[in-house]
């Protein structure tokens, strides 16, 4: 009888152990479910980097799990429920429930022994795991899809900042380099600059490799130094070309546009009409003058050859200047990293009042707000301006609103007269603005405002 009693107690204890284990698993499943939900919600509320994206679910999980364990800890009534479920499942008419109570009270009456014996006989082949298998519940089934969704978001959602930068930390050298390389590639493809495109691809490869392998800024800097030398060598090999520093980039771009136009004229115009029309293209005329030529003295074939040569020269010059700018950027990037290191070593409190920001960015604070008096940045979101046709409208904004990109150069303006005319500057800005308007970076409701601004500048002229 004692053996029966011990065997029954073991079987029932095993059942209760299994139920407790299932409870633990259910608690962990619920905690994990809400942790993943939280992880999905966090990027909607705040901007986080991929490196920090793991923190939210882990924190929720760590905080939630003890609370759930406390709220759903195993109690006597859970034991009663488990035994009642066993009685129901095996049609024991509460023999298991009664037997468990007799075991706890160590009852020795004949009727109690009879109940224990009957329960023991009926539970001889009890397999708790088979009888009460795990049930994951809807939260359990949603875990895998949620995890996949979150991982997908982590790698594809632009709301997550690139890897390595935590909240409040400046982007690493690799990240800066990758951003720059991508923009440079776009520009090179758009403007047809083969050497720049090749250099940009090389830079992106270095950046990607650095981010994937966690390469230190120091190693990246040494690689960049090598690339910079290579670019300088390429630029020198290309030679000075037919253009000098006096020829602005804008002029070169205008010249390129005129060459395109001239080609069209040569194709379409009959007889000598193209020569009359060609005389309206100022930049080409300037180039002809520079080489001591005249449009009227050239026939159609000679003009075609001249235009081909001119186009190659312009493209080469633009490519060369682009490489030069790239070199300058790399130089700044390398200096910036060293500057930051110096700051970190020399001034741990981060006081950078004397030198100003090394990366050329304006810091948030008094005076950082565009269109406001210095020191009046309230930090509040500004409403859209009330744009009226024909009137100049000032678009207020502040640094720090939304995404922005660009290359910032630090330097003191040289005294003297500007080499660029106001018309050229406005036309250049307008082209840039139009290019930006075609991208998704400008909010839809502000596109008209920007367009109207440049139209108003033209009218003012």
């Amino acid at each position: 009888m004692d053996a029966d009693r011990a065997a029954l107690e073991t079987r029932l204890s095993r059942l209760l152990g299994w139920e407790k284990r299932k409870r633990c698993e259910a608690i962990l499943t619920v905690a994990l479910f809400y942790a993943l939900l939280g992880a999905l919600a966090v990027p909607l509320l705040v901007s986080v980097s991929r490196g920090w994206a793991w923190v939210a679910p882990v924190a929720i999980f760590i905080l939630l799990t003890p609370c759930l364990y406390l709220a759903r800890r195993w109690r006597d009534r859970d034991t009663a429920r488990a035994l009642a479920a066993l009685d129901r499942a095996l049609h024991l008419d509460e023999r298991a429930t009664t037997a468990w109570e007799f075991l706890r009270r160590n009852e020795t009456q004949a009727v109690a022994l009879l109940v224990l014996r009957q329960a023991s006989d009926r539970l001889k082949n009890l397999d708790a795991r088979a009888l009460f298998p795990r049930s994951w519940g809807w939260r359990g089934w949603l875990l895998a899809p949620l995890a996949l969704l979150w991982l997908g978001m982590l790698y594809f959602d632009p709301r997550f900042e690139p890897q390595g930068a935590g909240p409040g930390q400046p982007p690493s050298l690799s990240q800066n380099l990758r951003e720059f390389a991508r923009r440079l590639q776009e520009k090179a493809q758009r403007e047809g600059l083969p050497r720049t495109l090749e250099a940009a691809r090389e830079l992106e490869r270095i950046a990607q490799r650095g981010m994937a392998a966690g390469t230190t800024d120091e190693q990246i800097r040494s690689e960049l130094a090598g690339i910079k030398k290579k670019l300088a060598a390429e630029r020198n090999a290309a030679g000075k070309g037919a253009f000098g520093p006096a020829d602005s980039r804008q002029q070169l771009e205008d010249l390129r546009a005129e060459v395109e136009a001239a080609r069209e004229l040569l194709k379409q115009a009959d007889g000598e009409a193209w020569q009359d029309r060609l005389s309206g293209l100022k930049q080409i005329e300037k180039q002809l003058d520079r080489q001591g030529l005249s449009a009227r003295a050239l026939n159609r074939g000679e003009m075609q050859a001249f235009l081909d040569k001119l186009e190659q020269a312009v493209a080469g010059e633009l490519d060369r200047r682009s490489l030069q700018e790239t070199e300058q950027f790399l130089q700044q990037l390398m200096q910036r990293g060293q500057g930051l290191q110096r700051d970190a070593r020399g001034r741990p409190d981060g006081n950078r009042e004397e030198d100003g920001p090394d990366d050329g960015k304006r810091e948030a604070g008094p005076g950082a707000t565009a269109g406001e008096e210095p020191g009046t940045n309230t930090g509040k979101a500004q409403p859209l301006p009330d744009v009226k046709g024909g009137l100049r409208t000032q678009v207020k904004g502040s640094i720090g609103e939304g995404e922005r990109s660009g290359i910032f150069f630090k330097g003191k303006p040289a005294p003297g007269t500007s080499g660029l005319s106001q018309d050229e500057v406005i036309a250049s800005y307008r082209r840039q603005a139009e290019a930006e308007l075609n991208t998704e970076k400008i909010p839809e409701q502000l596109k008209d405002t920007i367009k109207n601004y440049f139209l108003s500048l033209e009218k003012a002229q």
């Binding site: 509460e94 009664t98 004949a110 009879l114 009957q118």
Partner: protein, 335 residues
Amino acid sequence: MDSVEDIEQRIARAGRSFAEVKAEMARRIVGHEALIEQVFIALVCGGHCLLEGVPGLGKTLMVRSLGEILSLSFSRVQFTPDLMPADITGTNLLADDPSGRKIFEFQRGPIFANIVLADEINRATPKTQSALLEAMQEASVTVGGKGHHLESPFMVLATQNPLEMEGTYPLPEAQVDRFFFKLLLEYPGREELSRIADLTTAAPPGALREILDGAAILEIRSWVREVPLAETVKDYAVRLILATHAGPETDGSGVEIARRFVLYGSSPRGLQSLILAAKARALLSGRPNVSFEDIRSVVTPSLRHRVILNLEADAEGISPEKILAEVVRQVPEVS
């Protein structure tokens, strides 16, 4: 001290006796299997039953048959408004003793039987009703200042006619509460009616076999009280009782329908009745312990006369059976 084998034999004997009683009753009574079981449960628990049903459903026949099978004495009292307590309990009559002196001799009334059928109990005056109810409660009667014990086992089966309420004296709630079960006799179905016709219009069936005697009933009655009840099952019974209440005593376990329609919930006597009946059912089913199902199956006969409904329930036609069914449905086995 009893051994496990003794207990097993007892349980088997009780179960076998009940099965034989049922089989023998079926020879004379058509249908009413649940009713017969409940009457037998009340008998082995030492309780009394209030039977409610229209005339001609076989109430008297059932009670008389039960008396025959159990070889118990049986008496029937037809309650009328002019029935006096002495007509039930008996009275002292003037008689001559052997020496010729005049003495008072107690003449036993019909209450002195093992099974008493109190037909249409609500037709008698409250004074007469209370005399019967006192006998039910105390198992004794007092006549002329002298107490007389009633024979054991003693069981009263009182009947009520739910149709004719004119000139009746409805039993007060406190007195109804003393009945262990209140049982309703339902009208027989088509097949049952057909069988009744065959059974009662042909040659009368032979006499019923005696299966149990008074001593055996008393023995089973003592076994019933030894049936163990798990704390979990007892807690279920307690929560069921509390759930019939509308007030704060429900301990938050009240049921909405009870809160709305119940004026007074079940008394503690209802809980005693519920648990005892469940124990008897377990024993008669051949089990050594009480199950949740035992409790559930005796909720209605144990509590239907102990749940007092309010006027709103009357107006909406809500019956105690409906309230109890909802209570059983909503109260979980384990809290």
